[in-house]
């Protein structure tokens, strides 16, 4: 056992070289004797080894384990990690040496077994390749081995590419995620002759690989697609092969297939090669038209444009094909870019006289979807067309209404809701959260009251609450509450929590999290946090039968009569509402309450009733502003830093969305990171209150958000506003124009896409107002460089002008249209002027 002790200390010391030399010259019997202790050690004491010593077990196993099956499992489990030690060879080399020295006959078997288990581990790949070389077995060519092999050898020189690896080379074109390793190390331009891709090219030139086969496989890989980086690898290799014209001509169909589906860079290559064949007179028109059909709806304008230019040349050469050509060309009438539509139209008009009547009819019907001015041209050339189908929805979609679910009725349902609250932690849904709070307070009260009913005894209210509130934030809510629950009654006064052990510490932590140091008594966290904290303490020390502030609408509004009922209830049962609950209830009242409510509230004769009456007497804006100093502390406009609760803020001030927007604007502005801002915009659109400049800005930034789904949410929000007749398109347009001109965070191109969706979804009139109001600022002579996406925005204006026939003049538009040249912006400006003057 001396040997085992020695091995053990070497393992613990991580001395890989020592392990290797110790095990190198043992007899099989000695190895066998060590196998038991080693597996025992790994099972029981593996955890005591430092992380970078762990793979010593693999090495030791290679020295002692008796069978390939056991060793394969063992090595895969303990991996072949090597901590960097100068002069130490990689662990796979030590392992390979050791195995070679053992002279066992099953190294080939081991290699095969390891290959089956291989997952993304380059050291293991090296070991397998070494074992294959020693044992002389055929390479087990699996996808994982191909991928690992390519990764390990991505910088290889041609001479080092061993002949027995040829099957792996051929498979690199068929396995996903491998193309990236064909990248040329120094970019495409510099060719120092090394790198997997260049080595394959060099050996193909030498004749080791069949050139036709490599080109075929390259094209097949590009057809298959995949991630851009992979496809680029194949493209680089293809370009480096410099295919000759006959080779291209032999594969024309392959290029058509690439053109239909592949990434733009690859599609560009396919088009280039097809043109090359055409230049040599080797491309039949049928094939050319197939290629065109495949590519005409691609969004890459250059590609489409070049194809159309080529089509013109081809038609000049082969006028007999005019019918087929024009029918194919008609697909471009559906392209989203109006300049391409126009080019296609011009080309078709020029050749229409030579086409058959049937073709002209087809062109006429295809042209029905074109804008009015183009349609007029088409009508002259192809004959009358059917009326265009309306591209936009006629009516605004009614905003989805959400019924408030009935209150939680049983502890079992409450348990469900709490589980759901924890499960969907990314964003808190205010409707469900308020329902949960209401259920928690009411059921906890009933549960304490009667121990006889259907009591759920395994619900520990306090710990539940704590988890509910604290799991979302690091603020450790109320961790002292669960200590000694008391049998408090409904009449118990709310305790002076400042005296509580731990309370001060909690508040300190909270204020620190808010960035306020040092803590002072006047620092108050936002109302939402205060109310939650209040509930957590109140449940134990001053239970109440219900919450006052539970909303009566899905936006968070509270019906004043319902609040009065709740206060009446409190007065009758002689309990005093919790302070922040009352404040929240007041904040949720609509701005226009029945005047008689105040007197009814005062008649209750309670402090809470008087507070309500006083609240109703005050000015709706002033009374909220007066409360705001306690609301607006801290980073996030005082609304608390628990990001998942952000979606609850519109429901905190449901009748004052302007104030919420004002306080949350800083968050919504950071469009690059503002995840979930879109939900807030929808909530704001559904809430009540004036639409102020801050809210317009928030919407504008939403339309320009980086993420597509956030932009989609901004469009949803605008549609809600429009359906409620609260969307002033002109006002929003002015803000968009202003922000685009002044803020670097606005990307007009993104906004344009959203506006198109908005217009098509039934808000065409509002979108026109928006575009018309945004343009003057963007096209004014003071703007040096027109923003990217301006032409599309004007183009959208043209589309809408055709639909709506608006009147009026857009400042600076005439100046823009009068500019020289035929840039898209200028062309679209001219079309818009024509459209505004009613000239088709």
């Amino acid at each position: 056992m001396a040997e085992w002790e020695q091995l053990r200390s070497l393992l613990e010391a991580g001395d890989f070289r020592g392990i290797a030399s110790l095990l190198r010259d043992l007899t099989e019997a000695e190895r066998k004797a060590l196998a038991g202790p080693l597996t025992e050690f790994a099972r029981k004491e593996q955890g005591s080894l430092p992380f970078n010593h762990l793979s010593g077990l693999s090495l030791a196993g290679a020295g002692v384990l008796p069978s390939p099956s056991a060793l394969a499992r063992w090595i895969v489990r303990h991996r072949l990690y090597t901590a960097y030690i100068p002069g130490l060879p990689p662990l796979f080399e030590l392992t390979l040496d050791l195995l070679r020295a053992r002279g066992v006959p099953w190294l080939g078997d081991l290699a095969r077994r390891l290959t089956v288990r291989l997952r993304d581990d380059t050291a293991l790949v090296q070991l397998i390749l070494g074992l294959v070389a020693i044992s002389g077995i055929d390479l087990p060519v699996t996808d994982a081995l191909v991928e690992g092999w390519a990764e390990v050898n991505s910088h290889i020189a041609p001479a080092a590419l061993r002949p027995e690896w040829d099957p792996l080379v051929l498979r690199t074109f068929e396995v996903d995620n491998v193309g990236r390793f064909l990248h040329f190390p120094n970019g495409t331009g510099v060719r120092d002759g090394t790198g997997l891709g260049l080595s394959i090219v060099a050996l193909t030139t030498e004749g080791r690989f069949d050139r036709d086969e490599v080109i075929d496989r390259c094209l097949a890989a590009m057809q298959r697609g995949g991630r851009p980086s992979d496809v680029r690898g194949y493209l680089n290799l293809y370009n480096a092969l410099e295919p000759q014209l006959p080779e291209v001509v032999a594969r024309l169909r392959d290029y058509v297939a690439v053109l239909a589906a592949a990434h733009s860079t690859v599609a560009g290559m396919a088009q280039r090669e097809l043109f090359r064949a055409d230049d040599a007179g080797q491309l039949e028109i049928g094939m050319f038209l197939d290629a065109s059909r495949a590519a005409f709806l691609r969004s890459e304008k250059k590609l489409v444009q070049a194809l159309m230019d080529r089509l013109r040349v081809v038609l000049a050469r082969q006028p007999g094909a005019v019918d087929d050509a024009l029918r194919t060309l008609a697909a471009v009438f559906d392209h989203q870019a109006t300049d391409l539509q126009k080019r296609a139209l011009d080309l078709a008009v020029a050749h229409a006289p030579a086409a058959s009547a049937e073709t002209r009819n087809e062109l006429a019907s295809a042209a029905a979807g074109l804008p009015a001015d183009f349609r007029a041209l088409a009508g002259k050339a192809f004959g009358a067309a059917a009326c265009p189908t309306l591209a936009v929805a006629a009516a605004l979609p009614a905003p989805p209404t959400r019924e408030l679910p009935p209150p939680i009725a049983s502890p079992a349902e409450l348990a469900e809701e709490i589980a759901a609250h924890h499960a969907n932690a990314a964003f808190v849904d205010p409707v469900r959260f308020e329902r949960l709070l209401a259920g928690l307070v009411a059921l906890s009260y009933q549960d304490r009251l009667s121990r006889t009913g259907p009591v759920v005894d395994d619900i520990n209210w306090d710990s539940w609450l704590m988890h509910t509130l604290s799991e979302h934030t690091e603020l450790r809510f109320a961790n002292f509450v669960a200590g000694t629950p008391r049998r408090a009654t409904v009449k118990a006064r709310y305790p002076d929590i400042e005296t509580f052990a731990g309370e001060r510490g909690w508040q300190q932590k909270l204020s620190q999290s808010y960035g306020l140091k040092p803590y002072s008594a006047s620092d108050r966290p936002g109302i939402l946090m205060l109310r939650l904290h209040e509930i957590s303490i109140g449940l134990v020390h001053a239970p109440r039968p219900l919450l006052l502030a539970t909303p009566t609408s899905s936006t968070g509004l509270l019906d004043p009569d319902v609040l009065l009922d709740r206060l009446t209830n409190a007065a009758t049962e002689e309990w005093e509402p919790w302070r922040h609950d009352l404040i929240q209830a007041l904040l949720r009242l609509p701005t226009d309450c029945d005047p008689s409510l105040a007197s009814r509230a005062r008649r209750l004769g309670t402090a809470a009733g008087d507070r309500l009456a006083q609240w109703l007497a005050e000015d709706p804006d002033d009374r909220v502003t007066a409360l705001l100093p306690t609301l607006c502390r801290g980073r996030s406009g005082g609304f608390g830093i628990a990001r998942e609760f952000r979606t609850c803020w519109p429901a905190v001030l449901p009748a004052h969305r302007d104030m919420v927007a004002k306080h949350l604007l800083p968050e919504l502005t950071y469009t690059e990171e503002a995840r979930g801002g879109g939900r807030l915009l929808i909530a704001l659109a559904e809430a009540d209150g004036p639409v102020t400049e801050e809210m317009l800005d928030a919407l504008a930034y939403g339309l320009s958000a980086r993420h597509q789904d956030e932009r989609a949410a901004a469009v949803d929000a605008l549609l809600v506003l429009a359906a409620r007749s609260q969307l002033d398109g002109a006002a929003l347009g002015r803000r968009i124009g202003h922000l685009t001109a002044t803020s670097r965070q606005m990307t007009l191109a993104r906004v344009g896409q959203c506006l198109q969706d908005l217009a098509r979804s039934g808000a065409a009139a509002q979108t026109w107002d928006l575009v018309a109001a945004a343009l003057p600022r963007l096209i004014s002579p003071s703007v040096e460089r027109p923003p990217h996406g301006l032409a599309d925005l004007i183009g959208l204006g043209v589309e809408l002008a055709e639909l709506l026939h608006p009147t009026g003049d857009i400042p600076h538009l005439a100046d823009l249209a009068a500019r020289r040249g035929s840039s898209r912006t200028v062309t679209e400006a001219r079309r818009l002027i024509a459209g505004l003057q009613g000239v088709p």
């Binding site: 169909r253 392959d254 697909a331 591209a391 936009v392 959400r402 098509r760 979804s761």
Partner: protein, 500 residues
């Protein structure tokens, strides 16, 4: 409709030697496997590699062998699709021959086949290298249906080659595996729209007479979850309705506009907007869920050939969870439909649509009865089945769902009808092998269920039975709110109280 292809009504006029239908259909509920594959099984298992892959592999996994007489290819203008295993009415062929003749719109059919093959050869979620399953072809007399299911279990794709595109002779009806590997894919990519092309599904006489033995043999894993998912798609899609139909130009614009960042993210919603589609952040009524739009990439090459893109989905409300969706291209003489699971990381197997239907043994018995009455009809007429079986319409409906779960019917959204086929896999489709159901039975046996009126308790979880269905306080229910099938607690409670 070409003259030589029998229409659906002619199905039984097809020249099948007398009585074959009954004879080739064994009594075990109509599931049938040719002798060769079935007999080879024990040997397969014995010869399988001893080593298991290191990642966690379901123990419920079986091996499946593909034995093709030669690789599928295109030679001298003939697209020869090779077949292996499965069921054929006329003879229990190891390599059945279904169709020989011309196909019209060859370019479209070839591109469609490529698309179906691509789905079969892809794992869209967590790509792991490894063997993948070949597509399945069903010959129903008047049409050929090619079906495939992705390695990740979240994408189903089917190409229906209708009678308009076929002109030839139907030799047999049935379902079989079809070899569509990378070499064939490369040949298919070269087929142009105007090329005349002959199609043979199955080995022609020449191959049978000149070759002896199997030239291509591969073994793949058939994980239980993959099989279940494949079978479950039809049950889920049967609840879909058409939600939008957009012109191809708009469809192209929309599909290509989905940014790569969007592709990596979770589910979003798609709503009709004018003539086009747009993304929306919430499930307004009429919206369709779209998760992992890169899974629709197979549609892109076919878009220039298409007439329109039609989108199907279940009915949704603003509080709906992500759900499955179907995307269908109308092509010349063919249709291509791609069905996506609710989220990129969700396979169809875990969707639990099964669980609503396995309540009684009666469903399984009825399904067995109906299965024996079917003979690869392109449309399963429920009325007719009811008449022949003597079952009530309700029982027929649930029995057909039961057949779907065992892979014996598929659902055709375009025709809103089931069609008969028998997935050519052995034994693995048993709908009873559901872990949730197994766990539920164990809970019942352990006496863990206590029922109290409309409530029940199972191991600390609360189950409620309401008018809107059951619900539970466990994590699974909290996360999916019943949109992914019932949890084991609800199932256990239902087993005790009987389904409401």
């Amino acid at each position: 409709m070409s003259g030589q292809v029998p229409v659906a009504g002619d199905l039984h006029g097809l020249e099948l030697s007398g009585g074959m239908v009954a004879q080739t259909r064994p009594g075990d509920g109509g599931r049938f496997l040719p002798g060769e594959v079935a007999a080879a099984r024990p040997a397969d298992l014995a010869g399988a590699p001893v080593a298991q892959p290191t990642h966690r592999v379901s123990v419920n996994s079986s091996k499946h062998s593909y034995r093709y007489l030669r690789p599928s290819d295109i030679r001298d203008g003939v697209l020869g699709l090779q077949t292996s295993g499965g069921t054929a009415l006329r003879r229990p062929a190891a390599n059945p021959l279904f169709f020989t003749g011309f196909i019209r719109h060859a370019g479209v059919v070839a591109a469609g086949l490529c698309s179906v093959a691509k789905v079969a050869a892809t794992r869209y979620f967590r790509p792991v290298p490894g063997g993948l399953r070949d597509p399945v072809v069903t010959c129903s007399g008047d049409r050929l249906r090619f079906e495939s299911f992705s390695g990740c279990g979240g994408v189903y794709s089917r190409l229906d080659v209708l009678s308009d595109a076929l002109d030839g002779e139907v030799h047999d009806l049935g379902t079989t595996n079809v070899d569509v590997g990378e070499p064939l894919r490369r040949m298919l990519a070269r087929v142009g729209g105007r090329d005349p092309l002959r199609l043979t599904v199955g080995p022609d006489e020449l191959i049978v007479s000149t070759l002896d033995g199997v030239a291509v043999e591969t073994k793949v894993d058939l994980p239980q979850r993959w099989l279940k998912g494949f079978a479950e798609v039809q049950v889920i899609t049967a609840g879909f309705e058409p939600r939008a139909e957009v012109p191809v130009a708009e469809a192209t614009r929309f599909l290509r506009s989905l940014s790569s960042a969007q592709r990596a993210r979770g589910a979003s919603w798609v709503v009709p907007s004018g003539r086009s589609l747009r993304l929306s952040s919430r499930a307004v009524p009429g919206a369709v869920c779209l998760a992992g739009p890169q899974r629709l990439d197979g549609l892109l090459p076919l878009l220039p050939h298409a007439k329109a893109l039609r989108v199907y989905g279940p009915a949704v409300t603003p509080t709906s969870m992500p759900c499955a969706s179907a995307w269908e291209l109308q092509l010349a003489g063919t249709r291509l439909v791609v069905v996506l699971s609710p989220e990129l990381n969700r396979g169809f197997s875990g969707e639990g649509a099964v669980l609503d239907f396995i309540a009684g043994d009666q469903v399984a018995r009825d399904a067995e009865l109906l299965g024996a009455l079917l003979a690869f009809e392109p449309r399963v007429e429920l009325d007719l089945l009811g008449e022949r079986s003597g079952l009530s319409p309700d029982r027929v409906r649930s029995a057909v769902v039961g057949l779907g779960l065992s892979g014996q019917v598929g659902y055709d959204l375009a025709e809103a009808a089931y069609f008969h086929r028998v997935l050519p896999y052995d034994g693995g489709l048993a709908e009873q092998c559901n872990p949730r159901l197994r766990d539920a039975r164990a809970l019942v046996r352990a006496g863990a269920v206590t029922v109290d009126g409309d409530c029940a308790r199972v191991r600390g979880h609360h189950i409620r039975f309401t008018a809107n269905g059951p619900s539970c306080s466990c994590r699974w229910w909290a996360e999916y709110r019943g949109s992914r099938g019932k949890c084991k607690h609800v199932l256990a409670a239902e087993l005790v109280v009987g389904v409401r």
